[in-house]
Amino acid sequence: MTFDFRILAMMLAFVTLAFAPAAEAQNRLGNTELNVPATLLAESQQVQAGQTVTLAFLMQPKPTWHGYWENPGDAGIGMSFDWKLPAGVTAGKAQFPVPDTLLISGIMNYVYKGDYAVLVNLTLSDKVRSGPLPISVKSEWLSCTDEICVPEQDELSITLQVVEAESSAPIDKRFNDFRAAMARPLGSEATFSVSDDLFRLSVPLPANVQIDKPYFFIKEDGMVDYGAPQKFTRDGDRVILETGARGDQLDTISGILKIGDHMGFLFTATKGEVAMTGLPLVNDGAKAEGSASLLFLALGGALLGGLLLNLMPCVFPILSLKAISLAKAGGNESEVRRDALAYTAGVVLVATALGAILLGLRASGAAVGWAFQLQDPRIIFVLLALVTAIGLNLAGLFELPNLNFGNKLTKKDGTAGSFWTGALAAFVATPCTGPFMAAALGATIVLPPVAALVIFAGLGVGLALPFLLIAFVPAIRSRLPKPGPWLDSFRKIMAIPMFLTSIGLIWLLGRQIGTDALGLSLIFLLTISLILWWFGGGQMKGLSRGALTSAAMVVAIVAGILALPGEDAMNDQKLASSSSATLPSEPFSETRLSELRASGEPVFAYFTADWCITCKANEAAAIQRTETADAFRAAKVAVLMGDWTRPDPDISRFLEKHGRAGVPLYLYYAPGAEPVILPQILTVATLTELVNGPVQSAMLDATPQ
C-alpha cells in the first residue's frame, strides 16, 4: 500500500472546507445525486482587471467510482466545458492532474480514483469594470465504476469580485495541493518514432532523476495502443519507451511521463529516429519475465566481472601467493578444499555486505555509487595503511607472525586466515570494478533488493572462482609451479602492484582532502611503515616486538584518522572543487527578492530543477562560469536560486505570474527597473552584458556598420 499524499491533502482540504462555507460557489441545480460530484472553487474571491484568477473543478468520486483524464484511453470520455462568461473574460485550457491507469479486461482507462481537481485560468481584460463578476459553466463528464458508466453533468457558478486595488482576499490554500498534483512542463522536447507497429519515445531526463513505475500518457488518440505493455529503458540523460503503435498520422504529439505517485512531466514530442538503447527499467513488477532475464544477464556480467577482478593490481598479489601456498599444502585435499571454501565465504560475504550497505544508503536517499566506501577519506586511509603494509610484507620488510588479526593473509594457512584473505580481497577489489561492471551494477538499482543482493554475491563468486577451481580440480593444482627459491623473488615482485595500488589510493585521498591534509596523512603512513620496519628488524634478531608493534600501529592509524579533515571540511573541498559553487546563490523567496529590490541591489533570479536538462545545460554553460561570477561580483549582483525539483507552491505561483508553466526561468532585476525575462538558452555573454550592458552597447554603437 503506497501512501497517497494527494488523498491526504484532499482530506485536509475538506476540513478546511467545513470551516469556510462562505467561499463556496452556488451549484447543484436540480441534479439527482452525482457519482462524481463537482464543486467550482476560485483561488481568490477577488481579482483585478487585467489579471488572471485560477478556478478549480474539485471532483470527488464516490468509493469505487472514477473520472477520466482528457484522453480517456480505450473507452470513456473526457470532460467538456461550456462557459458563460461576462465580456472581457476568457477561460484558458483545462489542466488535468497526473492520471492513473486502470486496466479492465485488456481495456485501458486513464482515470482518477480519488478526489482530483481540474484547473482553469480565467483572464480578465483591462476593460473589465469593478464589481461582481458572475461566472457560470456547464460541464459534462463520464463517471464509471469498473462495471458501469453514467454520463454526468452540472451547471456550476461562482461570483467573483473585480477590485481596483491589489486583492486583499485570502488565497485558497487548497490550490497548492491542486497544483502539486499537476504534471509539470519538462522544458525540453522529446522525440518519437513509429515503425513496424512499434511506438518509441525518447524523453530527455537527467540520469540521476529517480523513476518509479514509469508510464506514458499520450494526449492524442490513434497513435498508441493504450492496452499494450510499456517497456522503458534509460540511456544516460534519456528515458526511452517502446510500446504498441496504432497509427502514425501525427508529426507532433504531447503527453505526460509519469515517474511516481502524482509526479509527472508534460512535454511535446516530434517525429524522429528513436533506438531502444540503455538499461531496461522494470515496470510495475508485473513483468517478472523481463526482470528474470535482466537478472540472469546482470548475474552473468557480475560473475565475469568478479573473475576479471582477480587480475587487478590490488587483488592479484594477494591471490597468486595464496594460490601457490595452496599448491604447497599439496597433499591434504580436504584441508585445501576447506580453505578454498572459507576464502569464497569471505569474498561473497563482504561483496554482499557492501551491496547491502549500498542499497540501504540508496534507499535512505543518499546518492552513492559502487565503491562508495572510497568516498570516505577515513576508509581510504585505513585501506592505504593496509595495502602499504601488505606491500612492505611482500617486499620482505617483515614477516607476519601467527597471532594477530589478518595475519595469515599470504603465508600460513588456516580456515580463518583464508576467510579474512577473501574478505580483504573483496574489499580492496571493489574500486577496481571498472566500467565493464557498470551495467550489471546499474541493474541492481532497478531490480528488487533480493535480486540485487544476488548480483553482488555473484560478483563475489566470480572473484573466488579461480581459487575454487584450483582447490577442487587437482589437475590445475598440479600444473601450478612448485614452490622453490624463485617464489621469494616472485613475492617481492608482487610488492610492486601493491605499491601501485597505494599510489592510486594516495591520489584519491588527495583529491578528497586536499594536499595539506594529504601531507599529514602521509606522515602517519610513514610512521606506520617505520613501526613495521622496526618490527621486521626485531624478527631478524629473533626479538618479539609483536605486542608493542600492534599497540603502536593502532595508535598511528587512529591518530591518522583523527588528523583527517572532518565531514564539513570535506564537503567544502567538494564544493570548492565542483563547479556548482562558482556562482554562489541564496534560496529564492519572494520576501527576500523584495528585500533586495528595496535595498536597491541588482538581482539575478534563476529557477531550476534536477530533472530539467535545459536548466542544467544553461548552468554549466553560462551561469556557473568564472566569467559570469566575476562580472556579477564586480557589479554586486545578488543571486537567488529557486529549486523546483520538488513541487513548491510558492515557486509555482511565481512562475505562473511570469507566464511560465515551468522551469527554466531567468530574471534580471536592474535596480528600480522592471524585471527582464532572459531567453531560455543562456550564454555567458547574455549574462555578463546584463551588468556590463551600457559599456558594451556603447562600444557597439561606436562601431561603424
Binding site: 479492465i104 479486461s105 481495456i107 458508466c149 504498441g244
Partner: protein
C-alpha cells in the same frame, strides 16, 4: 499443488488478455471469420455473408451511449438504411454473464421487439473471443466489412462523443457515410475513427 492448474490457467488468461488489442483487425485486410449463436440458438458464421457488405455493431443495452442511439431511433434508422442497401447487420453482445448488459436469448428477443431493433442477427459472444479478436473496446463500436471480406471501416458510430441525443443531428454518421461511399464504388474516406462509449464488459 492444488493451485497449479489455476495458476497455469491464470497465466494463459493473462496472455490471452494482453493480446486482443494488439491482435485487432486491420483495415484493408480480410476480417477474421467467426461463428457465434444468435438469439434463437442458431449458429451464424461471418463468411456465409461473403458477397454482401457486413456491419458489426457491439452492443450493451445498459450503456447510456448505446441508449443515446436507440432511444433516439438513430441506430434503428441506420440499420434499416443499411439493410435496404442489401447489407447484413450483425449486432454482437460481448457482455459476460453477471456483467452489465448480459442477456439471455429470450431477454434479447424481448428487447429487439421493444426497441424495434432492425439488425439481421443479434449474436452472443459471452466469452468475448470475437470481441477481443476485433479489438472491440466500446459500446457502440462499429466495423464494416465489404463484399470481398475486407475490413473497410472501424470506429465510432459518429463524430460526437457524448451521451446527449441532441448531438446526433449535428453529427457525421460514419457508418451511413461509409455505406454511401461503398455503394457508389468510392474509397471509404473516414476508414478509422475513435470509438466512444462504455467499455465492453468482457469476462476477464
Amino acid at each position: 499443488m492444488r493451485n497449479l492448474p489455476s495458476v497455469a490457467f491464470t497465466a494463459i488468461a493473462a496472455i490471452a488478455l494482453a493480446s486482443p488489442l494488439a491482435a485487432a483487425q486491420k483495415n484493408g485486410t480480410i476480417a477474421q471469420d467467426f461463428k457465434l449463436t444468435d438469439v434463437n440458438g442458431k449458429t451464424i458464421q461471418l463468411s456465409q455473408f461473403r458477397g454482401k457488405t457486413v456491419i458489426l455493431e457491439w452492443h450493451n443495452p445498459g450503456c447510456p451511449f448505446v441508449s443515446k442511439h436507440y432511444s433516439s431511433g438513430n441506430m434503428q434508422a441506420t440499420q434499416k438504411a443499411a439493410r435496404q442497401q442489401g447489407a447484413v447487420w450483425l449486432t454482437i453482445n460481448s457482455g459476460a454473464k453477471g456483467k452489465q448488459g448480459h442477456m439471455t436469448g429470450a431477454e434479447a428477443k424481448a428487447l429487439i421487439a421493444k426497441q424495434d431493433i432492425q439488425s439481421t442477427n443479434y449474436l452472443f459472444d459471452t466469452k468475448g473471443v470475437v470481441g477481443k479478436a476485433y479489438g472491440a473496446r466500446t459500446t457502440p463500436h462499429m466495423y464494416i466489412i465489404d463484399g470481398s471480406g475486407i475490413l473497410v471501416y472501424q470506429g465510432g458510430i459518429d463524430d460526437k462523443p457524448t451521451a446527449n441525443p441532441a448531438d446526433i443531428k449535428r453529427a457525421r454518421n460514419h457508418v451511413l457515410a461509409a455505406l454511401g461511399e461503398i455503394k457508389s464504388g468510392d474509397k471509404v474516406s473516414v476508414a478509422q475513427s475513435r470509438p466512444y462509449g462504455c467499455s465492453v464488459k468482457y469476462a476477464s
